[in-house]
């Protein structure tokens, strides 16, 4: 009798172990393990996925991308062109009991700015010069020059507890103010977080999250289909029909071709326009991405980004017009060097080859050269000789035109292939213009200018695709953050 009972106990135990996590517990499979759980040091998707739930920022965003106050009580105010004042929400504590106040903000800002700290996130904050405490719940942040996107930058800076962040073990035991608190990190295996009982905001529905790390997309898919995972990232478009639920939402990534406006056949604006007319972007979205991508709106911006110009749309697919323009420019049959890489971005090589195919169809002779990523970067960043066309996928986490435009649109930017002084001036004035209406006007102008000059072939705006278990309900977010507090188990 006893032994039978024991067997039954063991079997029930086994079933409990084998069953997917309980009702309000979910398992999320990420592509890579966090290298650290210090939220201020790395540019690391795995780290961000976990810490976005443990830590908070002064500014937040709604799921559709609107900037709203987070730990700040209201939107920051400009007190002079270089000083932003932020009022803080009162009575908030870190999970270890430390107070969240002006000291914590000043500490967090200075920590990330410290050159000795070697933060990889520094490029988001390089305009910040100083942070000063005014009173317990007021902070002033001083920038080098006028910086209109400081509120957007604050949405990227996680607030850390002043005392605990000095602990050498801080990177393994994160403590934030967020809706979830850290429980355990079994290196190589998982990270576990659970709902923080004293959270200042709305209580989240899901009580416990286990993050698993599976780099192979096929294995991630298998885990979702076997019921081991509730949410997987970067689901390949071709698998969306196989999974219990797939959600897709317009993301932050824009594949483009950078055209050399200063030399070669692409020096002629008519040739650059022809290269745009020649490509059937809709077919790319349908054929390569199974529809999980939108045709780019003739600009390096998604509709949710600051600076998006509603008046500008895509170049239509018109191969006849392309041929006519090429003929007019005397560039029919010209050879075009196309630089790309393989395996870095979703369908990167396929896109380059498809675009080259369209160019060939209008009578050009594209020479596709696919390089290993390091060598590819040498070409992308080469300031002396620019290839006729360089493929790149631009990602813009700040959701503001400044980052992408400074890098690709502006003459002298790390990946730009034009020397248009007017365009550079528009971007520079927008960069330091703190008046929203004027700043918008500058960007509208810049978008229009680059579009008319066809400095790029704008291809697509890629959607983020997630695989979900049957029981999970989550609409997704435009900023690609996986905020568990917005998820529910059905």
């Amino acid at each position: 009798m006893n032994s039978i009972r024991r067997v039954v106990f063991i079997m029930v135990g086994l079933i409990l172990i084998a069953a997917p996590a309980g009702a309000q517990e979910i398992v999320i499979a990420l592509g890579s393990e966090p290298t650290t759980l210090d939220p201020q040091i790395r540019e690391d998707g795995g780290e961000r996925a976990v810490n976005d739930n443990v830590y908070e920022t002064l500014m937040g965003r709604t799921p559709d991308g609107k900037l709203v106050a987070g730990l700040a009580a209201a939107e920051p105010k400009l007190v002079d062109p270089r000083t932003w004042e932020v009022k803080l929400r009162p009575g908030i504590k870190f999970h270890n009991g430390e107070l969240f106040n002006a000291d914590a903000v000043v500490h967090s800002v200075k920590r990330i700015m410290d050159p000795g700290f070697k933060s990889e996130q520094i490029s988001f904050f390089s305009t910040i010069k100083d942070a000063k405490k005014v009173d317990d719940l007021t902070v002033q942040i001083v920038t080098e020059g006028p910086d209109p996107i400081l509120p957007g930058r604050l949405y990227w800076m996680k607030m850390v507890p002043p005392k605990h962040s000095k602990d050498p073990k801080f990177a393994e035991s994160p403590v934030g103010t967020g809706p979830y608190k850290f429980v355990k990190w079994n290196r190589g295996q998982n990270v576990i977080i659970e709902a923080a009982p004293d959270y200042w905001g709305a209580k989240p529905a899901i009580k416990k999250v286990t993050y698993r790390f599976v780099s192979d997309s096929g294995t991630r898919l298998a885990g979702l289909m076997a019921g081991e995972f509730d949410l997987i990232t970067n689901l390949l478009p071709e698998f969306t029909k196989k999974v219990p639920q797939a959600i897709h939402i317009l993301g932050l990534e824009h594949p483009i071709m950078i055209l050399n406006a200063d030399g070669g056949p692409t020096k002629d604006v008519r040739v650059r326009q022809a290269l745009n007319y020649a490509v059937d972007k809709k077919a790319l979205a349908e054929g390569l991405f199974e529809g999980f991508a939108q045709v780019a709106q003739g600009q390096l911006l998604s509709p949710a980004f600051f600076g998006f110009n509603k008046q500008v749309g895509p170049y239509p697919y018109d191969p006849e017009k392309a041929k006519a323009l090429l003929k007019e420019a005397g560039a029919a049959g010209a050879s075009i060097e196309v630089i790309g890489t393989s395996g870095r971005w979703l369908k990167d090589r396929e896109m380059v080859e498809a675009v080259a195919g369209y160019w060939e169809a209008v009578g050009l002779k594209p020479k596709v050269r696919i390089f290993e990523f390091n060598e590819y970067l040498n070409r992308l960043f080469d300031r002396k000789t620019r290839a006729d066309a360089i493929f790149v996928v631009s990602s813009n986490e700040l959701m503001d035109a400044d980052k992408s435009f400074s890098a690709y649109y502006k003459a002298g930017g790390v990946g730009s292939s034009n020397t248009d002084k007017d365009l550079a001036a528009m971007i520079d004035s927008a960069r330091t213009e703190t008046d929203v209406a004027k700043r918008t006007a500058h960007y509208n102008q810049a978008v229009k200018r680059a579009f008319d000059q066809a400095y790029f072939v704008w291809l697509l705006n890629i959607e983020d695709v997630y695989g979900l278990s049957k029981r999970l309900a989550w609409p997704g977010r435009v900023d690609a953050k996986m905020l568990v507090s917005e998820m529910k188990v059905k």
């Binding site: 890579s32 393990e33 290298t35 650290t36 040091i41 790395r42 540019e43 050159p115 000795g116 070697k118 990889e120 520094i122 490029s123 390089s126 990177a171 290196r187 190589g188 295996q189 998982n190 698993r212 790390f213 599976v214 780099s215 192979d216 096929g218 294995t219 298998a222 885990g223 289909m225 076997a226 081991e228 990523f373 390091n374 970067l377 992308l380 960043f381 300031r383 790149v392 631009s394 990602s395 813009n396 980052k403 992408s404 400074s406 890098a407 690709y408 790390v414 990946g415």
Partner: protein
Amino acid sequence: MGRFFLKRLLQGVVVILGVTVLVFVVTRLVGDPVKVMLPLEATAELRAEFEKQLGLDRPIGVQFIDFLAGLTRLDFGESLWQRRPAMTIVLEKLPLTLELASLGIGLAFILSIPLGIIAALRPGGATDRGTVFLSLIGLSVPQFWLGLLLIVVLALQLHWLPTSGIGTPAHIIMPTITMALPALARLVMIVRSSMIDELNQQYVKTCFAKGLSFYRVVGVHALRNAALPVVTLCGWEFIRAVAGYSVVVETVFAWPGLGLTAMQAIERNDLILLQAIVFTVAILVVLINILMDVAYRAIDPRLKLT
């Protein structure tokens, strides 16, 4: 005896140093970690600044002397990607890879002996042809595909095993099989051919004539003589498992060992971590080679330690 090991050890040290220096030079020629670490849109000034902070802007000679000084203390510095001492990461991951490689190659070894002998008993017979055919399949199947196939059948359809990860004994079954199969295929072929050679030797006939039992002749006398190439291959398979197969198998099964780490370090141009990994694997290779020399001499006393 002592001189033999001294000589081997010295050779080993030269190999390890050679490999380490080679990796130092090659990784620095191939890529610039800062380009990969910072977002693409980061400005050139910021990149330069970051390079300075990481000490990668110093002349390569200075970096090399620094590197050699660290090497004497087994200190490779902090991994650029993980910001932890590179050796700590390697020592954390190595046991998992050794576990997987030992189980996989151990399984292959244990299965290969009986399979190879059975095939060798009647060369050209049905069992022999069957074994050769299956070995060829085992050799031809790509490991990543085999791994995914196992996941689909054993985890997805039958629900017997978890798809990936670590934690319970059930997690290690599929990675072990995937690791073992190509090694098994090669080992079976080698056991088979050396057994066929041995069974045709005069001494085997003598043994039978003396009236020794079949099992004693085949399983002891012939097998012992046939074992030399098998042991060689086993050592070689183990090295390949640690330094090669582990990359594929660990990626497919999300097994957080050295192979997966090496793969990620390469993707991120983490020179420091790569040096530590290659150094450690080089030591392992040298050690296994020395171990194999010892094993030879234990199996075949005719070989002298010179």
